[in-house]
């Protein structure tokens, strides 16, 4: 027994958008070209006719898995709280949507349902009895800049302890082990006008926060989603206004930018602020939480070839060797599903400039094979 490999079809979002791959072709790719990977994860509102894909589809779906030797592992579900437009959805209404998604996941043979990192624990608790009765494991995603030591994980552990359930856990997104901004994100920002010195400052600050100890604690802003931090920082640069919990970090980024970057513009501040998106969570926590992991999102932004090693690939911004080591030490036997997200940083360059998602996922799986087998 060892760590199992699969792919979140989120990785192929661009191929689907530009109609290069359909769902069947994605499943065929996973089953045929990824060195024995067999797990399929998908986002319901991306991959399916939603909320009811129809009986004919369900038959086709199981036929594909039989044909390509794959299996449905996890369905990722969302929660848009303004769906009804005349009021904000209550927890009960959100729980109804989650329950409906759990039933859909069961119908399609999935064993796990992933909820967003921001879903309140009360909603998960309301849906838990249905998940148990259908033998579906609910996993709450822990996404950067959240940490494994934070309240999101504690709440899940408390609920597991209180209910004794075996159908609830966490889905670590390996972006939480990112320790510097991705090179493809920085290149994208530079094409938008950021100065190279801002990219360098962003990497330098991220590494200083990682290695600098207590003096850099105020740069750790893990309570928010990355999107909200980016939006709040943009508004801080424009207006100087910021919520108290973020003030020290934002002020620190601003000052650091002004030291490192000549005549900084808004895009330069934004680039340096990417240093705030790192989780700074610990590999020991990952090892200790192995029993609570339903499955893992193998997040990556760019797989580059290791210099001097043809056919060997690496993600330079995420500590994959450390992660796989901690998972092995904890005895993890579940799935790591490749989750490619860096395609968005090439989409400003037209069809000629976009990245090949199929190739990127193959490279990621090749790296996983090597690390898991080592």
């Amino acid at each position: 027994m060892t760590i199992q490999r699969g792919v979140s079809l989120y990785s192929y979002q661009q191929s689907q958008f530009i109609k290069r791959l359909n769902l069947q072709q994605m499943i065929e790719e996973v089953g045929s070209n990824l060195y024995g990977a067999n797990g399929i994860e998908l986002v319901d509102e991306m991959s399916l006719r939603y909320p009811d894909p129809g009986e004919a589809f369900v038959r086709e779906w199981f036929g594909w898995h039989e044909k390509y030797g794959t299996r449905p592992v996890a369905m990722d579900v969302g929660m848009d709280v303004l769906q009804f437009r005349d009021h904000v959805m209550t927890y009960e209404e959100c729980a109804e949507r989650l329950k409906s998604d759990i039933r859909l996941a069961k119908r399609l043979g999935f064993t796990n349902v992933r909820t967003l990192s921001v879903v309140p624990i009360e909603i998960i608790e309301m849906a838990l009895p249905l998940a148990e009765s259908l033998d579906i494991k609910l996993g709450k995603e822990i996404h950067q800049p959240m940490t494994l030591e934070g309240v999101e994980v504690t709440q899940i552990l408390d609920l597991v302890e209180r209910t004794g359930t075996s159908h609830l856990g966490i889905v670590p997104d390996l972006g939480i082990f990112q320790f510097r901004p991705s090179e493809v994100l920085l290149e994208w920002l530079e094409r938008k006008g950021a100065q190279p010195s801002a990219s360098e400052a962003s990497v330098e600050l991220a590494l200083m926060v990682r290695d600098g100890g207590a003096a850099y604690e105020h740069f750790k802003v893990s309570k928010q989603t990355a999107g909200n931090i980016r939006a709040a920082f943009g508004s801080f640069v424009q207006t100087g206004v910021v919520a108290p919990g973020l003030k020290d970090a934002f002020q620190g980024v601003k000052e650091f930018t002004e030291i490192k970057v000549e005549n900084p513009q808004a895009i330069d501040y934004r680039t340096v602020a990417e240093a705030l998106m790192m989780s700074h969570t610990s590999l020991d926590a990952l090892r200790d939480l192995v029993p609570q992991i339903t499955h893992i999102h193998g997040k990556f932004n760019y797989m580059s070839e290791v210099p001097g090693s043809v056919g060997e690939f690496t993600e330079i911004s995420i500590d994959y060797p450390g992660v796989i080591g901690a998972l092995k030490a904890g005895g993890y036997l579940g799935y790591i599903n490749s989750e490619y997200e860096g395609q968005r940083y090439f989409q400003d360059r037209g069809l000629e400039g976009i990245k090949d998602e199929v190739d990127q996922v193959r490279r990621h799986q090749a790296m996983l094979v090597k690390l898991i087998g080592a």
């Binding site: 989120y10 979002q13 661009q14 689907q16 958008f17 530009i18 986002v43 509102e45 991306m46 991959s47 006719r49 939603y50 909320p51 969302g78 929660m79 848009d80 709280v81 303004l82 769906q83 009804f84 437009r85 005349d86 009021h87 904000v88 967003l116 990192s117 921001v118 879903v119 309140p120 989603t225 999107g227 909200n228 968005r344 989409q347 400003d348 360059r349 037209g350 069809l351």
Partner: protein
């Protein structure tokens, strides 16, 4: 996301009704990695050759139904706009657009995001006006396209 690909390049056409050109239309996709309930669709910031066409002039055609206003779409709380599907954005403009190339600037607003947000209550009573990036989740910048008017209907 998908900045270069939100508008189908061969989709800009004049709309004809009863023999008269009543406006123009173009085909658009989700500026995201997923679909959403159509009720969340809040319209477009749209500028053609420097002239802005606000939501009151726009209707949206999707799921094989006739073009609808955003006030009508808002009530369709169980109808889903699937990720794979194009929608046709229609704009009322008697006489339509002149032949040739046009500069289109566009931003889509869909009130879909991750979980509860501080803006939720405000957006129930007064949703953001497209163009500011608010309510534009994964693609908050206005995108510019140079495309040519085609013959025939969408």
């Amino acid at each position: 996301m998908f900045e270069s690909f939100l508008v189908r390049p061969d989709s800009l056409r004049n709309d004809v009704a009863n023999g008269e050109v009543v406006g123009f239309s173009l085909a658009v996709r989700h500026a995201n990695y997923r679909g959403c309930y159509i009720s969340l669709h809040n319209g477009y910031f749209l500028e053609v050759d420097g002239v802005q066409y606000d939501r009151a002039l726009q209707t949206f055609e999707v799921n094989g139904k006739n073009p609808r206003t955003y006030e009508q779409l808002k009530t369709q709380v169980w109808e889903h706009w699937d990720y794979d599907d194009e929608g046709i954005l229609h704009v009322a403009l008697p006489g339509g657009l002149r032949p040739g190339m046009h500069t289109i600037r566009l931003q889509q607003s869909v009130l879909a995001a991750y979980g509860y947000l501080p803006t939720d209550d405000e957006w129930v009573t007064s949703p953001p006006v497209p163009g500011t990036g608010l309510g534009s989740d994964k693609t908050p910048d206005i995108v510019s396209y140079e495309i040519e008017l085609q013959n025939g209907a969408n």
